[in-house]
Structures are given as structure tokens and as C-alpha cells.
Assembly symmetry: C2
Homo-oligomer: 631 residues x 2
């Protein structure tokens, strides 16, 4: 096969790709993640790059005339066929790291979750014990494993002691090196204890574990001391699968359309996770072999892609996952950088679009212990929700789309430095703004978009349908893709061009909020509950922390209930995983919790669509649903 | 590292080896197994080879003057350092295949073993079941794994269904390919059933299993239809570890003295086994993925080397194995060519020198169910025995050494074509002989050696101490290594030289038989039993089948009891493994059987040595022990 060289600027990195590869392939080969919301279909226009030397074929697709005039082409449709090329991958087309929220302490989480008698020491997935074995002699010549097992039975109170193949191989050397004293790491289940590591002598370091939240957009890992339950450190990063599509559907499409696509997309998330782990280990000065368990919370598609389980039937009616309750898998089977025989435990999913992240979040809320009705909302790339109490739990998912995370929005971005998070519009349509880190503005983050929508409506820039109005301001103009409103002029930005919000952006945002609100309405209707019956609304998801409640109600994303009923609970998926990592009984409870949820399939029938269409106004066609906005 | 070419004749095979490698290394690199009883120490003299072109350094060690005069050197001490060489590896220095006994049918084995109610179908390690799943719809949208598990729970009557990681990955595709009908292979334990394979549609092929006997000298595998219990085919070959030492001690020494020796010696036996498996699969037209379980019977050292478990403490006082009762290991961890998630189950060992092969053999004998005392003897490279009844079982091992398998004997060989198996000596010391396959004689096999010893003694060629006598025959002469007696002159042989038996050979044989007989005496003494209390003697081991009972008693190998008390049971290790492969309850029984045996350590105290010295005569110093020989 012919190989051609692609040199990537400004780094000057050179990679060799097969003739006919796209520039997106070249980026992946170089370890650079380009934005690619559509998964390389040429429709999102986010992977714009410039050819500096040489020629490429193709490069067409959805892009503004202006950008095309500047010489940009799309990396995903541009093929290297005629010889070596040099290309520029601008910052604006790349995914970059961002800061992930630090979470609360275990005590706070436990308090929040209302878990009774949280006793992780008795119920751990992993125990590390110091063992003194009797020294053998000619009369007492039992084999090493039997000697060890006999002691462990006493210490652990388990009859059934097994040992991993790898631990067995060096057992004789280890017990003698420690002069018949060893420190043994065991994986504990109801049925047995499996020795996976034998260290000579008495070793004081605790067993470690990882709580992991694999989001469609971000991945967050927490390193936990399993002996004390303390969270030592947390790290987060973008899910590099973003280069293969912004949402779960486009990722599934990627696995179907690319050769070895499933393997490739699995490898990418495993690499993302391993890099996070190495970062945590380096900072805490521990090794991968010290970590014996990983508790994973993620949506159903993310779990399929993480495990490499065929995901294609998730997106096809009747939307059937391959697996909801995955078996415990050894880390080496997945290539994860924890102890090779360490357990990888996945939170059970409820259905194709309500995953283990929601079960984990629900566990954190304690919703299943309430007499009154609570509503738990996780607003991310997918919007999932659980409504219920100790008698009944119902859940559903509405595909909000990536708009709230900046996807499908001309200047959308994640909450990084320079992201506009708030705007104010005066009577003359002058705009002032605040950005993350007070940096020169470069785009608009999710909370900024909600604020924008609310402010534009209040200022009369858009009407209740979200259409741009004929206002007397230069900021209102006709752009490449229809009407747009200038938020910041080029000279004030960090990117040298005007930052605008387009009518198309507004429409995407309205669709997203309408989907969430319609989901809430349908659930209330199915359970024959008035909105007032809901005594608490818990908002989870990384995005939830930045949400402005007034703006969210004003645009009709959240129901019009008093502020004191709302509670923002941060990364509920990770927090739940942290708790379950520490206790088998809590994990078991979460499995039951998942099983107790009734899944409501919104695509079944017209009810959801009807509600959705009614919610496509700001805040809603039925203003009586928003009494606080009447005045 | 410099590489040098070694060309091996007569094949003309060329291999590249690192400068400084031995010719034995070159042989291993070329996949040719040279005889190497001493494990490459230069002491056994069996790896004699000739350099045809080029020069090597070294090559010294134990070898006859005659052989040296013919230009032979030892491959194990000859190093390639000065450039490419061409060498001849003569047939006489190579291990080659031999025919392994075909065993009895399952019915005969079961009858022999006296196992009650042998019902393998209910107690199998593997079940293959046809499952019809209900097709999902929007209302009934449970995930694929749960749908499958629900059906399996009903069919198998097990609550706890798990699935291997590899089976999980393609489950969604497989169930749809089969249109919701699949054939599922499950590993069954008391606690759970693990799905390891899902085939679309209804597949009629049975689950297969392998019963394996890993002997120090030979490896035998039987392919079994686990549904019917029928043995389909059996194949045997030399254990290629023979190139790393003839007995268990020299193999352990090899792992200690060679870099990565344990890994290397493990790889060699795994290769030996895999080649046997491929032979079986090719002849039965099945694939490795069709075989889901392997039951392994082997001595303790062989199990350690098979599993790669550190064996060095087996040979050091107080002789402690790393493991007696190994956990079930997945085939992929060992690189065995059965289904990657198939179970590898090892018979439990009793102690360092009484292994799972003896437990397996004892299982076959049914010794543990007897009211009267039985004696089970397994005579191979090691001599192990079990004495007892339903109340008490005692076992021991006496290191007989490899003489009965032809090791350490000038013209010793395995029972292949041309092996002398019987001789007759007339009054004038003329010798007539019979060979395996009536081929021109090339050496003497184990049963031939026993016959030889007996006949030489009867003819007066040797005295009761085994010393050559001053007889009037040209056949008696002084050889390179002392007195020797010519069995066949060169012109009648297939090797172009005289086949002799030396005084040193006789001494080795007497040592071997003395060790076995002393072991029997000690066990009787410890249990305070007269010999007459033994109502049955069962002789196992591949060698056992060829043993001439009269000769064996005449030389004092076996006790002087009536022929009708003796029973030859063939490869008892393999037969026991075959039975246990078919039934978890039979395997469990064998574990208990192993645990019920009291191990007698012969090296503890002087008793064994005293008995051994007394047995160093033909048949014994105490002739009253052999009343039938008095006349």
C-alpha cells in the first residue's frame, strides 16, 4: 500500500498515512483530536483546516462561504492522494483540555445520598491483608497455596479462596522472599475471595480503586484509597471519541461505517482513560499494579463502546442494548492500566438511552427512599431523568442533542477560558459580557447559551418562536446561514472575528430545551401527577453546576417551580460510582435500583412529539405552565 | 548481537543462532529434539553430533572413546563462535515419535473403576444448549444478555448466569444472525454457568473435551465427545521437555540454571500439547474453538512446569510444592489450543512426588472403595504407589530413575520398531531375541531390559549383585566403560554396531527396581501389614502394559505374589482424567481422594535407605521374600 506524508502545522509533526486517507485520519494518526460533531460525515463543518503545501482531493461539505474564502477545507472529506502535503490544523478546529469540577468529600456525598450505615470496610470489593504463614517442614509439608488459603479463610471468613493464574506463578518465590509473611490483595465477592497479588513481607500501602465517569463528552476519574474511603485525587479530560462524532448516535454510526470502527472507538476511550490514570498515578506516586478495582458509570452506548460490545441495535427500533448488567471483567481483557487482574465493574443500565450514569446519579440522590415525589435530571449531551419515590420510579431519555455543550452552535464551546458565560443587552442593543477566566472571548459555553437565549428574548432580539426580529441595530445582520446577531465584534475577541449567534443556533437550543421539558411533562402525565406534586428537583451532570436557574426557567428548559425546590448535585454519575466502589452492598443496591426503574420509551407513540412541539416556544405555547413569568 | 548460521544435516535445515549458542540451542531453534537426559550438563553423552564444515568450540563431556574417535562431540557443550557451521544430528541422538497404547472404552473404564452411578450428562463441566429467545419489541425491550440469561436459567436450572468477555462482545450480532435462536456453550460450576460461546442458529455438534496425561517422558491426549462421553481419538508423543533433562529433578535444575528457563520449559510442553491437539483436530475435522475443557493429570513437577509455577522448592528439603490443587485456568492464559475461554482443570497433587497422575490412577482403580488392601503401582520415570483400602490410603514415591524407560542405559530406547523386548540365552551363551515390529534391532526397551536382567541372571552371565561373570564367551568383553555383554552383533543390527548391555546398565536397572521394591516394603511396614494382606496389585503407567510379570518378580521388582493377584491397567493417569472430564462429581471425588491419602516421605529417616540397600540384589538379600524362586 502506498504511504504518503502529512506534515501538521504549527507543530511540524509528520505522519505517514495510506494513500486515500482523509486529513481527519492523519490527525488521529498524529494523536490530535479534531472537532468532529458529525463523526466525519462532512456535515458539521467543525474540522476546518488549511492546506499549506501540496494538494488534496475533496474537502467539501458544510462550511460558511467566508471560511471557504479564507482557504479552509474540511479535514474529514479531504483525501491525501497526490503526494505529500503540509496542513494547518487551527486551534479553533481542535478539541483541547478543560478543567473539570472537583467533587465533594465522601462524607458529604454519603450524607447527600442518604445511604444507611455506609460501612465500606466490611463490604469492600478489594481487601489487602497481612498474612503470617507457618513455615513448612518434612512432617508438615502442605503446598504453599494451601498454607496461604488456610490463613486467608480465617482472616476473611470465606471458605472459597481462589488465586489468579498470575499470582499463582510466583507464589513460591514471594512467600519465601517474605520469610512466610506476605501481604495479599484479594478481590471479594459473595462466593469467594480471589488472591490477585502477593507482596513479600508486610506492606502498608492501601488497596486503591478508581471511580470513573465516561461521559459522551468528558471522562472523569477519581483515585480512591479503598482502606480509608478517601478520594485522593481526581482528573478529567475530553473523551477523545469526540473526534468520531459528538453524540452517541454518530459514534454508533462510526462503528458501522468505518472498518474496525468499533475496535478503533474502543481503543480511543481506553487510551483516554489510561492517560487520565497515568496522570493520577504520577501525582500520587503509585503504580498501576496498586489499583485493583474500577467502578464505571456511563450511558449505555458509552458502556458498549468501552467494552467493545456491538452497539448497532441501540439505535435501531426497538432499541435493544447488547448488555445492561455487564459481568465483572478483568482489566487485562480491556487493556486498562490498573492491576491486570483487577476488577472492572460497570453500573447496570436500564435501557438503551438510560444508562448506568443515571442509575449511579439516582443512587446519589436517594430518590428511591423518599415518600414524596422527586425528579432527578441529568442534562448533558443526552437528557435523562428519573421521577418517583420509594413506591415507583420512572425514567426516560430525551435526545436533547449537544447544543447545551456547544455542539451544533456556530461559536459553541466548552466552559474554558474565554467562553462567554453571561451577556447583558441594553436598550440600544449594546452587549456587555462576562467570560470564563475573564479572557478575551472566543466562543459561548452551555450556560452562556442559556443566558443568551433568555437575554435575547427579554431584550426583544428574538420572538417567542426564536426568530430574529427586525431591530434597529447593526448587530442584527444577514450572515452566510441566515440572520445572526453579533455578540462581540472582532476587535474585542481572542479569535480576530465577530462572535455571533445565529437563528439556526437559537433553533438548536430551543429544540434541546423543548426535548427536556417535553420529557418531564410526559413522565408527569404517565404517573398522573401535577407538577406541584414534585417536592424536589435534583440537577446532575457536569453542566448542571453552571446552570442559571432563572434563565433556565425563563427559556422553558426547567419547570416553573420555586428556587428552593431545586438542588444542583454536580457530577452525580461519578459520585455514585465513588460510593459503589467502596461497598459491594451499595453496588448491589444500585443494581436493584436500576431494575426497579420503569423505562418509558418516548419514541413510542405521538405523545412525546406533541409535547415537544408545544415546548418549541419561549418558554412554551401554554404560558399557564409558567405563572411566575406572567408579570 | 552477532548471529551465526547453523546448517543441520541430513535435513539441510539452516537456523541462525546468537554467537556463543550451543548446538543444542541450535537444535531447539530448528524444532529438533536431541536426547538430553542430563539437561545439557555434558554428563549423559546422548546428544552426540558431528561437525561437517566449520569449527565449534568445546563439545567435551561424557562420551565413549570409540564415539569420540568417530568424530562425535556433544551438542550441549559445543559452542558456535567462529562462523557458520554445518553439523550432522544422527537419528540415534534424536528423540522420535513412538506409538502410544490405545486405551479401553469408557464403559470398560467405568466398570473397572467401580464408580457408582456414573452420570456424566448431569454433572458435565461443559454443556451446549439450544436456546430460543423471544424477539424484543418496544414494549418488551430487555437487553440481549438478559433475554439469553432468562432462558438459560430455565434450561440449566442455575440462577447465576455469567458470560465471558469475548462472548459478550459479539452477542448482539450472533442472536440476530440466528434469528433469536442460538446454540450456547456454557462452563458449569456449582455456583454458576458461564457462557463462553454463542453460535447462531441450532448447531448439532457436541461440546468436546480433552483428557490429557503429561508424563515426564510422554504426553498423551484423548479427544472426547462430552455429550455422549465417547472417546473419539487418542494421540501421544514424546514430551519435548526431554531435551531439557530426563527426569523431574533435572528439569527443575534447568529452570534454575537457564535464563527464562521456566518460561522456556513451559513453552516446550505447551507446544508439545498443541501439536497433539492439532493432530487430533485435523483427523476429526474440528476446530480448537469447539473444545471447551481439558482435564490434566500429571505429576507435581509436570503440573508446575505446565502452569509455569515456580518449581524450585519441590527439589529442596522439605520438598514443598507451590500448588497441589490448582485453580481452574482459562486456556488463553496458557496459550493452549482449545477455546480461549475453555477451562483447564488439573488433577490435585498429594505432595511434591505424588502427583495428580497418581490420584487419577487411584480413581481408576477404585482402591478407596475396597474392604481388603490393594496396592496400586505406577512405574515410569518416577515410581509412585498407593496402598490401602476404604479406611486408609498411604502413598509414596521412590525415585526409580529413567532406567525402565531406557534412560541411562547405553542402548536403552522406547518401545518403538527395532526395540529388543525379549532375549533367550542358550547353554553356549548364544543369544536370540525378539524386537518390536520384528525390525532389525536398534536398542532395548524397558520391558526388554527387565527380560534381559532376568535372563542374564538365569544364564549366569551376571551374579546376584549384577556383576558380569567370567564366562567362556566372546560376547563377554571389556568395553570403554567396563565389562559388557554383546546382545546382537553389528551385522544383524539396524545401526551398524554391536548392541551391548554394560555392567553400568545392570547397576542402573538394579537401582531402579530396588527403589520400587523398597518403597513397597516401607509402606507395608508403616501400615504394619504382611505382604499376604495385599489382595490385589494394580500396575499402571504406559510401561506397565508391556511388563512381563515373571521377569519382574524374578529380578525383585515386584513382590512374589500369585499372578492372579496382579492386574495391568494401562495408562491409568489418562483413563482417570477421561472419567473426571466427564463428570464434576467424579472430579470432586478425586479431589477428596487425593486429600484422603497420607503421604509418606521416604527421604525422612534411614528406613528407606536400609530397605533399598537390601534390595540391591537379584532378587533380594533376603531370599525368603521370594519363596517361589527358591527351587
Amino acid at each position: 500500500m502506498d504511504k504518503l506524508q502529512v506534515t501538521i502545522m504549527p507543530e511540524g509533526l509528520s505522519v505517514e498515512v495510506e494513500k486515500g486517507s482523509t486529513l481527519l485520519d492523519a490527525a488521529n494518526a498524529a494523536g490530535i483530536t479534531l472537532k468532529s460533531s458529525c463523526g466525519g460525515q462532512g456535515t458539521c463543518g467543525r474540522c476546518a483546516v488549511k492546506v499549506l503545501e501540496g494538494t488534496v482531493n475533496g474537502g467539501d461539505g458544510n462550511m460558511s462561504k467566508a471560511k471557504r474564502a479564507e482557504g479552509y477545507i474540511l479535514a474529514c472529506t479531504a483525501k491525501v492522494e497526490d503526494g505529500p502535503v503540509t496542513v494547518e490544523f487551527p486551534e479553533s478546529s481542535r478539541l483541547s483540555e478543560h478543567q473539570v469540577l472537583l467533587d465533594d468529600s465522601l462524607d458529604e456525598i454519603i450524607k447527600e445520598s442518604q445511604v444507611d450505615d455506609f460501612e465500606h470496610s466490611d463490604e469492600a470489593f478489594v481487601k489487602k491483608v497481612q498474612v503470617t504463614m507457618s513455615e513448612p517442614n518434612l512432617m508438615e509439608n502442605v503446598d504453599d497455596l494451601s498454607r496461604l488459603s488456610a490463613e486467608l479463610k480465617g482472616i476473611l471468613g470465606t471458605e472459597n479462596i481462589t488465586i489468579s493464574y498470575n499470582a499463582l506463578k510466583t507464589l513460591p518465590a514471594k512467600v519465601r522472599e517474605g520469610n512466610w509473611q506476605v501481604t495479599v490483595t484479594c478481590l471479594i465477592t459473595d462466593e469467594s475471595a480471589e488472591v490477585i497479588r502477593v507482596e513479600p513481607g508486610y506492606v502498608d500501602t492501601p488497596p486503591y480503586g478508581i471511580a470513573l465517569d465516561i461521559g459522551t463528552t468528558t471522562v472523569v476519574a477519581a483515585l480512591v484509597d479503598l482502606a480509608t474511603g478517601k478520594k485522593l485525587r481526581q482528573a478529567g479530560t475530553f473523551n477523545r471519541q469526540a473526534g468520531m462524532g459528538d453524540d452517541v448516535i454518530s459514534r454508533i454510526v462510526y462503528t458501522e461505517e468505518e472498518k474496525d470502527g468499533l475496535k478503533e472507538i474502543q481503543d480511543v476511550v481506553i487510551e483516554t482513560i489510561n492517560d487520565l490514570l497515568e496522570e493520577l498515578y504520577a501525582k500520587e506516586n503509585i503504580g498501576a499494579e496498586d489499583v485493583s478495582a474500577m467502578m464505571v458509570a456511563a450511558n449505555t452506548t458509552m458502556i458498549h463502546l468501552f467494552l467493545g460490545v456491538e452497539p448497532m441495535y441501540i439505535r435501531r427500533e426497538p432499541y435493544i442494548p447488547g448488555v445492561c448488567d455487564a459481568p465483572i471483567i478483568k482489566a487485562k481483557e480491556l487493556g486498562l492500566h490498573i492491576h491486570e487482574d483487577g476488577s472492572v465493574i460497570c453500573f447496570p443500565s436500564v435501557a438503551s438511552y438510560v444508562g448506568g450514569d443515571i442509575v449511579s446519579g439516582a443512587l446519589l440522590t436517594g430518590i428511591e427512599k423518599q415518600d414524596e415525589f422527586w425528579l432527578f435530571l441529568d442534562i448533558g449531551t443526552n437528557g435523562e431523568m428519573v421521577l418517583g419515590n420509594s413506591d415507583l420510579l420512572m425514567c426516560c431519555a430525551c435526545s436533547a442533542g449537544p447544543a447545551f455543550e456547544g455542539g451544533g452552535i456556530a461559536f459553541g464551546m466548552r466552559a474554558m477560558d474565554g467562553a462567554i458565560e453571561k451577556i447583558v443587552i441594553d436598550d440600544e442593543f449594546n452587549v456587555s459580557y462576562a467570560t470564563v477566566g475573564n479572557a478575551a472571548p472566543v466562543g459561548i459555553c452551555g450556560s452562556g447559551l442559556i443566558d443568551c437565549l433568555s437575554t435575547l428574548r427579554t431584550a426583544g432580539v428574538i420572538n417567542r418562536q426564536g426568530k430574529m426580529q427586525d431591530i434597529s441595530s447593526d448587530r442584527m445582520r444577514e450572515g452566510d446561514e441566515g440572520p445572526e446577531f453579533v455578540l462581540v465584534y472582532a476587535d474585542e475577541t481572542g479569535i480576530g472575528k465577530d462572535i455571533v449567534i445565529t437563528e439556526a443556533d437559537i433553533e438548536n437550543l430551543i429544540r434541546a430545551k423543548a426535548a427536556v421539558f417535553a420529557g418531564i411533562r410526559i413522565m408527569l402525565s404517565k404517573m398522573e401527577l401535577p407538577l406541584e406534586a414534585v417536592s424536589k428537583i435534583l440537577i446532575g451532570g457536569g453542566f448542571g453546576n453552571y446552570l442559571n436557574l432563572n434563565d433556565s426557567i425563563r427559556i422553558g428548559l426547567l419547570p416553573d417551580l420555586p428556587a428552593e425546590l431545586y438542588s444542583f448535585i454536580g457530577n452525580s454519575s461519578l459520585k455514585g460510582a465513588y460510593m459503589a466502589l467502596l461497598s459491594r452492598s451499595v453496588f448491589k443496591h444500585s443494581v436493584e435500583l436500576g431494575q426497579s426503574m420503569t423505562y418509558l420509551e418516548l419514541s413510542d407513540g405521538n405523545e412525546f412529539y406533541d409535547e415537544y412541539v408545544q415546548a418549541m416556544f419561549l418558554p412554551h405555547t401554554d404560558m399557564s405552565l409558567f405563572p411566575s413569568l406572567e408579570d
